[in-house]
């Protein structure tokens, strides 16, 4: 707790933090270029047994996901400076299920049990005596009498600053110790996911393969609820491109065609329907999420897609 009593107090720590961040990102990029072995991104899994959710707080990881893998996710936090707007949001980044499966399956990331990982890490650090308060906050006190020379006063802050998440720079030493031990397998994740939704296993597989199929074509993909579809496709980063397609999985109803076509055209897009060429694949109707199911995710069945546009509007 800092109380500002008389005169303004600048906290330089925050500026420092920013500097550290930018340098670390640069160095990180170099690392990616230099070495062939890229550390996997950690996907912190929250609420592992209820409704599993992957929330990423590490800005570096978010940047890497976006730049390198084209994975967007959705920012769901509030910007502290502009708490009233909800157009541009801040960390954490929420990944949706297809993105998570794709990242894990492609070997770019690993799921970790965030709650236990953090608890144990804290314990370990404590026992090793590494968890100590070494944050020093430098405050400038403006003296109304002497304008030129500002008095510097250093004192120990009475709060603990821990790095946001496990950025690679901070965590390198204990990451190798812990993170792998808390890895959650894709199987466990999907098991609890399927339990918490109305989707069946076959649907999850088929939809994921739709996602993968589109990802392979190089699209950037966002969830499409706001356009009444399952996904929205962007030809590149959404910050630079408008989307031009809404994707809907397995559309059968005539009304859906009408609604989809009308809606898409009114927002200057088209609607893409995507489905399996061969429907007979649906043999694995077992209730259990087993290894076979996980392996079947990696298969690449033939997909077929159609786009619909409403020609009525001038």
């Amino acid at each position: 707790m800092i109380e500002a009593t008389g005169g303004s107090i600048d906290i330089e720590e925050s500026f420092k933090a920013v500097e550290i961040d930018s340098t670390s990102i640069q160095s990180n990029q170099q690392v990616i270029l230099d070495t062939t072995e890229i550390p996997k991104i950690l996907l912190p899994l929250i609420s592992r047994n209820g409704q599993p959710e992957v929330l990423i707080f590490n800005v570096e990881d978010i940047k890497r996901l976006r730049d390198k893998y084209g994975i967007l996710g959705i920012l769901i936090g509030t910007l502290a400076q502009y708490p009233q707007q909800n157009f541009f949001l801040s960390v954490p980044l929420k990944l949706f299920i297809w993105e998570v499966i794709w990242l894990v399956e492609s070997g770019y990331a690993q799921l970790i049990d965030q709650v236990n990982y953090r608890l144990d890490k804290a314990k370990e650090l404590q026992s090793k005596g590494k968890l100590q308060n070494n944050n020093v906050i430098v405050m400038t006190k403006k003296d109304p009498n002497s304008k030129s020379a500002s008095q510097l006063e250093s004192r120990e802050a009475n709060f603990i600053v821990t790095p946001n998440t496990d950025s690679h720079k901070y965590s390198k030493d204990y990451r190798t110790i812990c993170a792998d031990d808390y890895e959650v397998s894709l199987k466990d994740y999907l098991k609890s996911y399927i339990e918490s939704t109305s989707l069946s296993q076959n649907q999850v597989r088929s939809y994921y393969q739709n996602f993968k199929y589109l990802k392979k074509q190089g699209f950037f993909i966002n969830p499409g609820l706001k356009f009444g579809g399952d996904l929205v496709l962007y030809p590149g980063d959404p910050l630079r491109f408008h989307s031009y397609s809404i994707v809907k999985f397995n559309m059968v109803d005539l009304q859906d065609f009408v609604v989809g076509g009308r809606l898409a055209t009114s927002v200057k897009k088209n609607i893409v329907i995507i489905g399996d060429v061969d429907e007979s694949e649906e043999d694995g109707s077992t209730e259990e999420v087993n290894d076979e199911f996980i392996q079947s995710l990696a298969k690449e069945p033939k997909k077929m897609s159609f786009s619909i546009e409403w020609s009525g509007f001038g």
Partner: protein
């Protein structure tokens, strides 16, 4: 002035809200006014009432029933007079070759410039296509203008282009001004007669009408059950009902939640309340409610019918999409939940031998259904806030 004439004309054409003939219309008689405080007026009223009911037959019974053919799961009306009657009083059915009102014949006569074309009527389809052409023209002109403006900004514009730019600047804004109406009449296009057209005309007169009026199942049953103005290919009312149910789902006896029955319940509900109900397929919902009818106003409400069985019929994605589509066309989205009786109760009424009057059976069956309306509005908090 033209607008008012138009309105009067419409009022005249569409004077009847339903295809039923009233005594006042047919015989020019009406019951006198009744004044509650004046006993003589009661007496007069009674006398006239008896008179009207004994001397004159009920006009509806003297009018011939409209013939509806049931072929290939489609209800067709082919007779031109019947088509006009069903369309003009209550807006029933849809022309199979037109957007809604059967105008194929008029349009063909117009297109081929045949002799019958005196009134020079302009159908809604022609207005639309005209408007689209104008819009396309506006867009090409505008893009030309924008190209030239870009050149001007960059500074490499020739003298010719500068003149062209000046012209476009004057023309383009007018193309889209509020008062702009596409013009008709003076652009006499050359008549193009295709090979197919030769089969249709004989000595400059149209001899075939390829179009017929197609009725929805719910419309046919309403005309039969509620108004009794149609005869459907020798089907009795019960057979008709069953056929309609079969269109949706094949079962030995109608299921209580058969989509046809639910649709009909809602259709009858709104027709009884005086709305003009038409299919909502073009906006992805079940029905549309018009205050008077399509020529008068746009539809105000889009109806989505949901059986009240506690199951989720539409998921969030579908609801979001529908609501968005309906929102953009400035209509209100109404979810109509239909409560239905148990299957046992339905079967009892359906199979009962007691009914002499089939109408009474369906009256009782439909009475066991209930509708509840919920108005749904898409609301984006971030965009609605000031």
């Amino acid at each position: 002035m033209a607008k008012r004439n138009n309105k009067q004309q419409l009022n005249k054409i569409y004077a009847n809200a339903l295809p039923v003939t009233l005594s006042s219309e047919k015989y020019g008689i009406a019951l006198p006014n009744l004044f509650p405080h004046n006993p003589i007026s009661w007496l007069f009223y009674l006398v006239r009432l008896v008179q009207v009911n004994t001397l004159y037959s009920v006009p509806q019974s003297t009018v011939e029933l409209v013939n509806v053919k049931y072929e290939d799961s489609i209800f067709k009306v082919t007779d031109e007079e019947s088509i006009a009657k069903l369309w003009r009083s209550g807006f029933f059915g849809k022309g199979t070759l037109s957007r809604s009102e059967p105008t194929w014949k008029e349009r063909t006569i117009n297109r081929l410039n045949l002799e019958e074309n005196e009134a020079n009527v302009v159908s809604m389809e022609e207005v639309t296509s005209k408007r689209r052409d104008e819009r396309k023209k506006f867009k090409t002109e505008r893009s030309k203008l924008q190209d030239l403006e870009l050149k001007e900004r960059k500074g490499d514009i020739s003298a010719d282009e500068a003149i062209q730019l000046e012209n476009l600047r004057n023309v383009v804004p007018n193309l889209r001004s509020a008062n702009f109406k596409p013009g008709f009449g003076n652009d006499n296009k050359d008549t193009v007669i295709r090979l197919e057209d030769l089969e249709l005309i004989e000595s400059n007169i149209l001899i075939k009408n390829l179009e017929f009026l197609q009725l929805q199942a719910i419309e046919v049953f309403f005309l039969k059950f509620a108004l009794n103005v149609v005869q459907v290919s020798n089907l009795t009312m019960k057979q008709l009902f069953y056929e309609c149910c079969l269109l949706v789902e094949n079962s030995p006896s109608p299921n209580v939640t058969n989509k046809f029955i639910l649709d009909y319940v809602v259709y009858h509900h709104y027709r009884s309340l005086g709305w003009c109900v038409r299919s909502g397929v073009k906006f992805g919902c079940d029905q549309l409610l018009y205050k008077r009818g399509p020529p008068f106003t746009h539809a105000e409400y889009c109806i989505l019918i949901i059986p009240n069985d506690g199951k989720e019929k539409y998921d969030w994605f579908e609801m979001a999409a529908k609501a968005r589509v309906i929102g953009t066309v400035k209509k209100s989205f109404v979810l109509v939940y239909v409560d239905f009786p148990t299957q046992a109760k339905f079967d009892l009424l359906w199979n009962s031998e007691e009914y002499e009057d089939e109408g009474q059976r369906f009256h009782d069956i439909l009475h066991s259904y209930k509708v509840t309306e919920v108005l749904y509005r898409r609301w984006a908090p971030s965009k609605t806030r000031d």
